[in-house]
Structure formats: structure tokens, C-alpha cells
């Protein structure tokens, strides 16, 4: 079929539809309402899905926790296991789907500031800690890459430590002593509160993990016992785990029949299930909205049937002077497809606007993807063609002798 033939039919269909504007608008109303509701519902559920995903991420949906573990061939755990090396840490960072890598070295030490002396948990980590845990500073700065490189004597206080040692006083720039060694406070973290188990998450001091070994060396080095990794996307967790495992086994020269001497914990299965639920919800809601699209399609079919009846004489003339059934079918299909496509366009812009209104009601942002807009366009044109087939076929099958005698 030639392009010019299609264009010619579409232009003729456009002229016809414009000639009877009120009817065109009323006919496409069904499609408008259908597409509008699909767009709104998809936008709202996509928005909900996004919020749920964000919450899951803050609950650790993107994170993988690595721990050293030893296990014998019989499955019995050995006590001693290898810590992670600096080199392994570096290699993990190089894995494409890995975004942040944060080592965790936990200890507890005597902290003193002026006359206050307490034993507090000290966590050695790096600059990624704040990003992985989505844990910004309330004031001052977090430790940076250079602090970690240099093993600088700087620290960041948890909110509870800040309260106990400084109260409302400014801590940034002050020196505190950790086991007698002076550290400069460069910031303190926002409050996270208690865990469901009642543990105070804010009761610790964070320092570069490289500093730990420099000042606290008492014949034994602190190894990297835990690593927290976050991936670029929740869906990348599986791949990242695979790549990390492969890398670690190679680094450690583990043979095929040897078990891993490390362990990875992640929640991707839980995440998958929850996101699946929101997808089911989305499909369900758009299926309900699609019912109005079908009703709209039937409306188009109705009007096209009326249009064929009205134009019986014209069809008779056209067939007489040489139109084939293909020509007639295409003429009427162009009209119903254009009618529906027009309804689709109006529906998209209406749905776009109303999604933002609806998002105000439900209280979370609506997300309108180009994918859903493209799908709406295609679907409305499809409806127009599908429901236009019967009227167009009916027109093409008219007997020209009888049709031409029909009075307009």
C-alpha cells in the first residue's frame, strides 16, 4: 500500500470528521474517558510503586551484606574465617552494577570530652556509609575519600552521642578523645531512632576504617569483618551477588568442591514479591479502566454504522466509478481510527493534567511514563480500527445498484 494512498484517506477522514464537530466530539468522548482513566490509574499506581520501592531501598532492598564465614564440607561452621582485604574491596567497587561499597569494622572504646567519659561503640567505615544507609549529617560534613585514604583522625557523631556529649552545643571543630587519642569532630548525623528491637541506632561514633588500625594498634589489626554493598537498582542485586561471589572465589583460590568462606545476605526476594504485588494491582486497575475503552469503542462502531447508512448513496457512487472493497474499507477505517486516535490524544492530555490533581488527593506523586502514553496512543488507534472493521466491511459489501438509488 502506498503512503500517498494512506495520507489521502486520512486527510479525507479528517475533513469528514471536522465537518460534523459535535458528533465527532461526542463519539470520541468514550475513548477520552477511557484513556484518561487508564493514564490516571497507571500514573497513580506507578507513583505508589515508586514510593514503595524507595521505602524498600531505605529498608535495604538494594543492599547486600557480606560477612566472612567458614564452613567445612560436611556443612559445619568453622569459627575462624578470613576477613575481607583492601584489594577485594577495590575489586567489588569495579563491578558494574555495584554502586557503593562500605566496609564495617566495629569496636567499642572509651570516649572522653572535657569531664564526660563513656564507653561508646566505634564504627570504622568509609565515605559510602552515609549514601548506602541514606543517612545524611545534621550539621557539618561526613568523612570523605581523602580522610579514608589518609586514615585521618576525624569523626562523625551519631545523634545520641552528640546529645550526651554536647547537648545543644556545637560539636563541629571540637576535639574528642578516643582511647586517649584526639579526634576532630567534623559533623554529626541525623537521628534514626530505635530499632524495632529497642536498640538505639544513633549511639555510635563513626571514623575512617583506615584510622582504626593506626591508633588502636595493640598487636592485632582490625580486619574488615563486614561489608555493605548497594547496587544501582533493586533488580541488579542478583547479578551483583553473582559477580561478587565469582570474584571472591577467584581471589581466594577456592576450588570447585570447596564452599564459600563468606556469606551474602540480601532481601531481593522480598523486594520482588512486594513489587510484584504492585504490578498486579496496576494490571487490575487498568483492566477495569479498559472496560470504559471498550464501551467507547462500541460507541465509535455505532456512529460509524450510522455514518455508513447516511453515506449509502456516496458508497454506491464510489463503487460504480471504480472503488474496490479495499478502497471503501480503508476509507471508513481511516475515519474510525482517526476518531479514536483523536480521542486518545485528548485523553492523554486530560489524563496528564488530572493525574497531578489525583496525586494531590492520594498524597504521593503520580508518575506518567512515556511508555504508558505510547501504549495509550497505540491502544486507542487499535480500538478505532477494531471497532471500525464491521461498519467498514458493511459499507464495502453494499450493492452499488441499490446503494446509488438511496436518497441522501
Amino acid at each position: 500500500m502506498k503512503i500517498s494512498y494512506i495520507i489521502e484517506n486520512i486527510i479525507e477522514a479528517k475533513t469528514n470528521l471536522l465537518r460534523n464537530m459535535p458528533r465527532t466530539i461526542l463519539t470520541s468522548l468514550g475513548i477520552v474517558i477511557g484513556i484518561t482513566s487508564v493514564i490516571i490509574l497507571v500514573a497513580i499506581t506507578d507513583g505508589a510503586k515508586n514510593i514503595i520501592e524507595q521505602q524498600l531501598v531505605s529498608l535495604g532492598a538494594k543492599t547486600i551484606v557480606l560477612k566472612p564465614i567458614g564452613r567445612t564440607a560436611s556443612g559445619v561452621y568453622r569459627g575462624q574465617a578470613a576477613d575481607f582485604s583492601q584489594n577485594e574491596l577495590k575489586l567489588m567497587r569495579a563491578i558494574p552494577s555495584v554502586e557503593y561499597v562500605s566496609p564495617i569494622v566495629k569496636t567499642s572504646n572509651q570516649i572522653s570530652y572535657r569531664d564526660i567519659v563513656q564507653v561508646v561503640a566505634v564504627v570504622g567505615s568509609n565515605e559510602d556509609f552515609s549514601l548506602i544507609n541514606d543517612w545524611p549529617t545534621a550539621s557539618g560534613a561526613f568523612i570523605n575519600r581523602i580522610d579514608v585514604q589518609d586514615g585521618a583522625k576525624v569523626c562523625v557523631l551519631g545523634a545520641s552521642v552528640q546529645k550526651r556529649f554536647f547537648g545543644a552545643e556545637k560539636s563541629v571543630g571540637k576535639q574528642i578523645r578516643i582511647d586517649g587519642i584526639s579526634f576532630r569532630v567534623i559533623g554529626h548525623l541525623t537521628e534514626k531512632g530505635l530499632t524495632p528491637g529497642g536498640r538505639d541506632q544513633d549511639d555510635f561514633i563513626l571514623i575512617p576504617y583506615t584510622s582504626l588500625n593506626r591508633w588502636d594498634y595493640k598487636g592485632q589489626l582490625y580486619g574488615i569483618s563486614n561489608i555493605i554493598i548497594s547496587t544501582t537498582k533493586t533488580t541488579n542485586v542478583d547479578y551483583a551477588k553473582f559477580a561478587i561471589r565469582k570474584m571472591l572465589r577467584e581471589q581466594r583460590g577456592l576450588l570447585k568442591d570447596q564452599f564459600d568462606n563468606f556469606q551474602m545476605v540480601s532481601y531481593e526476594n522480598v523486594t520482588k514479591k512486594i513489587l510484584q504485588t504492585t504490578t498486579i494491582l496496576k494490571v487490575l486497575l487498568s483492566a477495569i479502566a479498559s472496560i470504559s475503552l471498550i464501551v467507547g469503542g462500541i460507541g465509535i462502531m455505532n456512529v460509524m454504522l450510522v455514518s455508513v447508512t447516511e453515506r449509502t448513496k456516496e458508497i454506491g457512487i464510489r463503487i460504480t466509478i471504480g472503488a474496490t472493497s479495499k478502497d471503501i474499507i480503508f476509507q471508513f477505517l481511516s475515519e474510525s481510527a482517526l476518531l479514536s486516535f483523536f480521542g486518545g490524544l485528548v485523553g492523554i492530555s486530560l489524563g496528564y493534567t488530572l493525574s497531578h490533581v489525583a496525586s494531590g488527593f492520594v498524597g504521593w506523586p503520580a508518575i506518567i511514563s512515556t511508555k504508558s502514553i505510547a501504549a495509550a496512543c497505540l491502544f486507542s488507534a487499535f480500538i478505532g480500527i477494531f471497532f471500525g472493521i464491521y461498519p467498514a466491511y458493511k459499507a464495502a459489501k453494499l450493492d452499488p445498484i441499490k446503494a446509488i438509488r438511496n436518497e441522501e
Binding site: S4, Y5, E8, N16, I317, I321, G322, A323, T324, D327
Partner: protein, 225 residues
């Protein structure tokens, strides 16, 4: 006139089936029309002349008998093939003009080209203008049918029938809706077309029109008399 037959009917019968009743409207029609003929077919209403024209126009199929159009049997052709055949070889003129009211004169004239191989828009408009010039209506090209007189509308229809340069022109009571003065203009136009080499078949019940043709075929009760 040449000896080449353009239309050849052999023992054409047409029977309409209405429920259990059979109604035969044409009985063993045999007819040969040569290239360049100007034939009128006359008969009272209900005599079967329109059915005969429809069969010659490939709009209807005979119940039995053989119809050769331009030497080719049309029996085995599909409806779409017949549409294409009509588009190329037959021009139609009707009593009630049968123009499409929402299109202008020139658009109506161009319409058969929409179903032919001519896709170039300029070429189409050019051809349509030439045909309008033949019927002396170039100044009405942009007018809609309801802005034209009956005679003008019929001239537009004639221009439309000429656009694909067909060999045969079938006119079904072309002057039936026109006054005698305008009728004469239309007949003169048809004569002019005949002189330019077209085969013209005109159906009428008006004897004064019929006698303008080279030959008259009379039909009564489905039989040529």
C-alpha cells in the same frame, strides 16, 4: 464505424429471485455494439432497460448468457476486478447526476482517479480541469453541487465520466431531470463526444432523444423488439 465489437451480449437472461417467486426481467437478449456506435435503448418503465444497462456496466451479473466487454468474458471476474474495469473503461452518466454533495465540482471530477493509478495530485487536478473545459465549466470548478444548476451538475457528471478516458459512456436517462433547453445542450455534448470517437449508449424513454442516436434498440417486457 469500425467492426470491432466493444459490447457483445449473447442470450442474456436475468431472473430475480424474491422468496419463492421468480421474476424474469430479461429474456435471451442478444446485442452487439461496435466501437464508435451511438446507440439509444428505449422502452417503457419496467421493460428491463435499466437492468440491461446494469449488466452492460458490470454492476450486475446475468443469470445466464455470455457477456463480452472489449472481447473479454467478464463472468469469472471478481467484484473488485469489475470495479477496476469500470474505472478504466466505462464512464457513467445518471439521471440524478450522482455527484457527492460535500465535494466541489473539480473534486467530483477527480474522484475516479483516486481509484486509478494516477497518484500525482497535480496531474489529477490538471486532468480534471481539462475535462471541465470540455464541458465548459472551468469557472465552476470550486463550486459544490448544490451551487450549480441541474444542467451544470450533469455537465460535471459528464466531465467525471471522461476523466479516465474510457471507450464507452453509459448514460441512464441523462436528461430525465432537465428541461428541454438544457436537455438539448447535454445531447449536443454527447454527440460531440461521439464525434471524438467514444461509444455512447443512452437509455431513455423520450423518443425525441432516442432519434438523435445512430441506432435505436427498443425493448419491451424484457425482450428486444
Amino acid at each position: 464505424m469500425s467492426n470491432k465489437t466493444v459490447i457483445e451480449l449473447e442470450n442474456i437472461n436475468k431472473i430475480y429471485q424474491t422468496g419463492k417467486n421468480e421474476l424474469q426481467v430479461l429474456f435471451d437478449i442478444c446485442l452487439q455494439i461496435y466501437e464508435g456506435d451511438f446507440i439509444s435503448i428505449v422502452g417503457p418503465s419496467g421493460s428491463g432497460k435499466t437492468t440491461l444497462l446494469n449488466i452492460m456496466a458490470c454492476l450486475d451479473r446475468p443469470t445466464s448468457g455470455r457477456y463480452l466487454l472489449g472481447g473479454k468474458n467478464v463472468k469469472s471476474k471478481s467484484n473488485d476486478d469489475l470495479s477496476k474495469l469500470r474505472n478504466k473503461s466505462i464512464g457513467f452518466i445518471f439521471q440524478s447526476f450522482n455527484l457527492i454533495s460535500r465535494h466541489t465540482a473539480i473534486e467530483n471530477v477527480q474522484m475516479p482517479l483516486q481509484y486509478s493509478d494516477v497518484i500525482n495530485k497535480k496531474e489529477r487536478a490538471q486532468k480534471a480541469l481539462e475535462c471541465l473545459e470540455l464541458v465548459d465549466l472551468t469557472n465552476r470548478a470550486k463550486h459544490h453541487p448544490n451551487e450549480l444548476s441541474g444542467g451544470q451538475q450533469q455537465r460535471v457528471a459528464i466531465a467525471r465520466s471522461l476523466i479516465n478516458n474510457p471507450d464507452i459512456i453509459l448514460a441512464d436517462e441523462p436528461t430525465g431531470n432537465l428541461d428541454s433547453k438544457t436537455s438539448k445542450d447535454i445531447i449536443d455534448l454527447l454527440k460531440k463526444l461521439h464525434e471524438s470517437g467514444k461509444t455512447i449508449i443512452i437509455i431513455t424513454h423520450d423518443e425525441s432523444i432516442a432519434k438523435e442516436a445512430m441506432d435505436t434498440i427498443r425493448i419491451k417486457d424484457g425482450r428486444i423488439i
